[in-house]
Subunit: 437 residues, 4 copies
């Protein structure tokens, strides 16, 4: 099992967090899956991911005080493994976990993912619960000094045989449920320990080993970011996706900053290895946070976001409630031209980045397609001039004199003028072209 084959393209899907926070339910998941199957699947969207706290009894009930209620009850089996909260996921009441929900998702031709927190439940450690496949109990597996800075559920797992047994038993369980994708949190950048932000390194390796042993090709996604560039090789060897940012929301400053993060990671996109720009905060958001709102991103900013994510090669995870999706957003998500850039075959290159603009180009050697994108990062409409000599991916020039250009959002055509391209994207917006030489 080569983990790079588990996701030959950057995963595209939906994640419950941005809309539901900790309150997602089985019905909500199914409704979003239904929508995806009906309207998005044909464009490549396929993952349905249940995010944080699916095991927490009463999650969301003290939202004015706590996002994560400390020391609250969780659903857990006899082997220290968390189970879906049956109140929110009724099909789990028979003890089969997410099996029925996964079956439903699969029946739609989609894939099923879940969020987990790194580690073993604190309550299992304090109650000396059993570990499947080991004589050692949870109190010896849990590291009482390894916690998450913002979530009270777990202790980190020690780098021991019993610790590996725990992760093995977890992946065995998830494989039996039919899980296709795991977003593991508090593992990519363990921000609580500034002096050791990669303190859970061994748990990444243990997870990867457990996945390999379980026999099911489960995609492994690591959060939160920013991932540490000096450990790039380690992420690439053991995981499929890793967050290169803190939580991303619908604020222009965060979007503008993403260009610096993509600059940093641009040489690190490959088949099965995807630096992750985080979820797309589009459409309707935030119900579980207590105040539903429509994305603050303007249409121009949405073009900029989608274009950058696709060109760069980031996974695309929708954060919105799909059943409320408007036509404009749907059009945004189903632009086949733009989505065609989202493949490791299409190698990107940042041509320039400053405070006012960014220029990227890309080349797909398999299809022999060239792309060039011009981002206006300033607050005013501006004209960007670019010498075609500066547009190349490695040795491959992007545009010849007289090349014709098709803008992928508007489908408008233009051409290289002399040895340069001059374009005028709106404030915060972008123009992205297929180049025909």
């Amino acid at each position: 099992m080569n983990k790079n084959n588990f996701a030959p393209l950057p995963p595209m899907g939906w994640n419950s967090y941005d809309y539901y926070d900790t309150t997602v339910t089985e019905d909500a998941v199914k409704a979003n899956a239904d929508y995806m199957a009906a309207h998005l699947k044909e464009f490549g969207w396929e993952y349905i991911v249940v995010d944080i706290e699916w095991y927490a009894i009463g999650a969301g009930s003290m939202r004015n005080q706590f996002q994560y209620i400390p020391f609250a009850d969780v659903a857990m089996d006899e082997f220290s493994r968390l189970q879906p909260d049956p109140a929110r996921f009724p099909s789990s009441a028979d003890g089969t976990g997410f099996t029925h929900l996964a079956d439903y998702i699969h029946s739609l031709g989609l894939k099923f993912g879940i969020h987990i927190m790194r580690g073993i439940p604190r309550t299992a450690a304090h109650n000396h619960c059993k570990i499947k496949g080991s004589n050692v109990t949870a109190d010896m597996v849990a590291n009482p000094s390894s916690i998450c800075g913002w979530n009270p559920d777990m202790y980190g797992v020690r780098d021991t045989e019993a610790g590996q047994a725990y992760y093995d038993s977890l992946m065995e369980l998830y494989a039996s449920w039919g899980v296709d994708f795991i977003k593991c949190d508090d593992i990519c950048n363990t921000n609580i320990y500034p002096a050791n932000p990669y303190s859970a390194r061994h748990e990444i390796e243990m997870l990867a080993k457990a996945i390999a042993r379980c026999g099911r090709p489960i995609v492994l996604s690591l959060s939160p970011g920013p991932a540490l560039i000096e450990h790039a090789w380690h992420y690439e060897t053991y995981a499929n996706m890793w967050r290169i940012t803190d939580d991303f929301w619908d604020k222009w400053d965060l979007l503008k900053d993403m260009f610096h993060r993509c600059e940093l990671w641009q040489n690190h996109v490959a088949k099965g290895c995807y630096p992750d720009c985080d979820m797309l905060p589009l459409g309707w958001l935030g119900k579980g946070f207590g105040h539903e709102w429509y994305t603050n991103f303007t249409p121009e900013e949405q073009h900029t976001m989608l274009t950058l994510w696709c060109l760069f090669g980031s996974p695309l995870m929708l954060g919105c409630e799909l059943t409320k999706l408007d036509d404009a957003t749907l059009a945004l998500l189903t632009n086949r031209d733009v989505l065609s850039m989202l493949t490791p075959d299409c190698k990107p290159h940042q041509v320039c980045l400053d405070d006012e603009k960014a220029i990227w180009c890309a080349y797909n050697a398999v299809t022999d397609e060239h792309f060039a994108a011009f981002f206006n990062l300033s607050d005013e409409t501006q004209t960007i001039h670019c010498d075609i000599e500066t547009l190349h991916v490695d040795d491959e020039p992007c545009a010849h004199k007289d090349a014709s250009l098709t803008e992928l959002w508007s489908k408008e055509k233009t051409s290289v003028s002399g040895s340069a391209i001059s374009v005028t994207p709106p404030a915060h917006g972008c123009l992205v072209f297929r180049v025909e030489n």
Copy 2:
């Protein structure tokens, strides 16, 4: 209650840690108290302090794996307050905590102290135990993100009314036991959070308030160090002692380094306010750590240590097993001349410090006594010359021409020669003089 009156002189006493680690027993405490009353009390030694894990059932039983056994049983009352382990402290079996032991210590004319970890027991939080004087339970008082990096027992307490109620109930209990001294750990420098090393600031204030409310003058000692000089005012306002170093042991490098710490804190010694150089690792040490040893400090280094601690004004806490004290160490601890410098009336001043030597002087305005000390920090015997003009405390000159000098360890006499003092302390040793002008 002005906390500065609780300890008008730097506290002198015995602490169980350096010899017993987590395994101290009632009998051991009594035996050391007996020794102190018989041989040391008349020289000012008076505190008997029970250090870490007196509440932990089975403490020390997994010493090859853990110093502090994670998720183990603790003795605790119904209000989330830890109690002495009755197996090691039999007199507590009647539910009176340390009352009987404190009574015994007091009957010897000594004072009784205990060690606590900042916070509330993790097990109380996970089991939603009660808080005396509050309707709120321990799960709401405990902060799941605030832990100690090296001890698994507690969670930090939130800065709320219920949190204060918990600390109030704790000090009320300790006062009822007859506790005179509390060494609170994981509070002075919370090293686990390098980005916020003073994260428990509010817990110091809560402790001070609870002590004021309990009506008993309990000395408050904060650990571990290094204390943060930029918060000096805060320590001085709320506590009596604060550790200015990491754990100190019998290694020359640590002793030599202490000169830099004393340099930093030399203007911060005052009545009721004592920067703390940590325990004196003298005599027999380490039984609880699994390998008993006699201090590695040479006699010269021991002179250097005692002289610096007394001149600077640090509390003196013995780490050794008193019942095994040899004559040489006893002589060291009962030198009235040296101990006479240990009072805030005696104001110290570092005259110079470099890699080879340190020179300090001190002036006691109450007794009109002058002192001068010459430390040889090099590895060879050396002669130190010192112009008497450089010896002064504020405006008060230390030595006049023809002043006579009495060395406090050897009682040998010498005098100023011309306008200078020339002395030849051995490697790592010191000469400390009373100056008579």
Copy 3:
């Protein structure tokens, strides 16, 4: 020569920088000195200090491009020692440097000070100029890697015999001129090297040694700040004043922040040892910067500033043009009650500091006077309550029940009410009381 006797009180005076920048002239200095002698001297003001670039030919002539013109001509003698620019200081044209100006200042009963940059002129090094009292030339004395980050005039001096000879020759010259005060810049915190902010440590020692050798009691003031608290002992041993802040100007944020700096340094004020809060930006400022303005500080903020500087024990250096001083500012600077606190006999103590308020008290053991000050750091008028138990300096209580209080700015009287003081200072303002028990 004990340097602590050079300035038994925190120096009070005038400095040319805040008004003249690099353009100060002999006439301007004399005019300000005349004013001081006539109106301020009797209140303790006595230093007249010529600040930066008095040696620079054409200083200020490219002000729109450079504050300090790089690689410009300087007046210098044959021994690499800078001389006053004769165009601006005509009395120096006879080769006697500042002798005539110093004589004039002294004739008024005042003291004369100059600013210098740490080091030796770059031009002397590049031209291999001579060093008085040494066979070695300036190129061997100058350290080409030791520069000031914001001023292009000098190279740092190497820690060698020839380097000491240079500083000796410099102080010999200044003593011959009649200099009483040196403000040495780029030496207290060498901000250009963040990894080694005390890199000029040896030059402080060399300066102190050269002053001792020159036979004249020249006060040594070190800039810029913030001084490093971990080197407090070093400043105290070798200098008389050291800046505890970056440049201070007439902005409330900077004034509010000064409370934190005074908190940090409050135990470090002693005779001859003065942490320095920087110049007082009062009255008319900024002509040399190209835009003259009247201080932005409100009358309340001015009270706060003067009260804090006096209570804490900072030197007082006026930055304004004295000849334009208005009555209100003059009254501020000649309040004998407030100025009476400015002596190391008067020991201050910060009682509390938070974002809304600060409370300080002070005790002068020589005069047996008590003071208490209440600063409103918020943007609204507020009533501050203070338990008199919290007001004490070391062991000395500040206020008894029924003590009477005289406010030092308004002369209004009030008294302790019960065991507390309640006062209502205006926003950004303060009330400071003499306490009569």
Copy 4:
């Protein structure tokens, strides 16, 4: 002019520094060039680079005190441009700079390079020298706050039109001399400013622009390291080589550490873009440093070094005196099999790295060749087992079952055994295989 075409392969050559320090002469350069032409050229070695201080009169004459004599004379033309010291480079006496030497090198079929320090001579700034093509003089071009921390020759150049004119005039001159390669120092990581280690960013851009304008394809190499990974894109856009380490010498610790640096930069090797592991300290070294020595690297370490540099894709610059080259070293440098990996066509991949070992593989898609290397980083002979599944470059597997393996240093043959490779490299040594499937 696309700078990526200036060096389609990682440059291979000789550099004068490791042997001559600052004392290199024209005769020495010619002698080394003669050797290269005779014995190394056919294997791809072609650059002859004159390193630091070729312009300094008397360089090396105060070696016991200074590596770089401060404020010493330099050879310079009327336009602030440094010239070769005619005493050491006699052919420059006619004012043609390095023209004759470059011609000689070119006549041997080799390429000629020189070292420069970033910036403009300090002496030019202090003497207000002219700038060719500008009315502005050197004092306005030089930034007095921008210096090199370890070399006293230059000031940084301001980001102005006149600054660009200076760099343009410099490259125009070098092009006229026939320079093919510039190693610019103090520009890649400006270590003196820890808070701004990329402070010379604009000077890299100015150099690149000046090279483009001069019309000659001059390879641009940046020193010193470590280069900053977060600016990878900037190096790649403007330079051909950038040092990823501090100075590298013949110490095992430095060589072992290089594996971490190669890990970090492995995705950043491309045509015209070469992360640089620094010079190869082989053979005889150090004459100019005052004590000639034969490399401390063992034969095994030499294999490790050459293999890593070639696999990774670093430029190869010899630091030794070529005329003293022994047969073993010559054999090392002329192993066609090993050198065949040194092309951007051959894409490397680190398979694992820990404290004991490193495994790399590589794939040349043009020649369809596979390589695998096993490095023993421990101090004992060890057997390394490797599952062939882990050996792949992107999607391309490296070795199939029954693949045959040829070790490139020994030419010995072995084969995959089952699904694994087991090899036993000596301590500090390596085995590197061509894999034939």
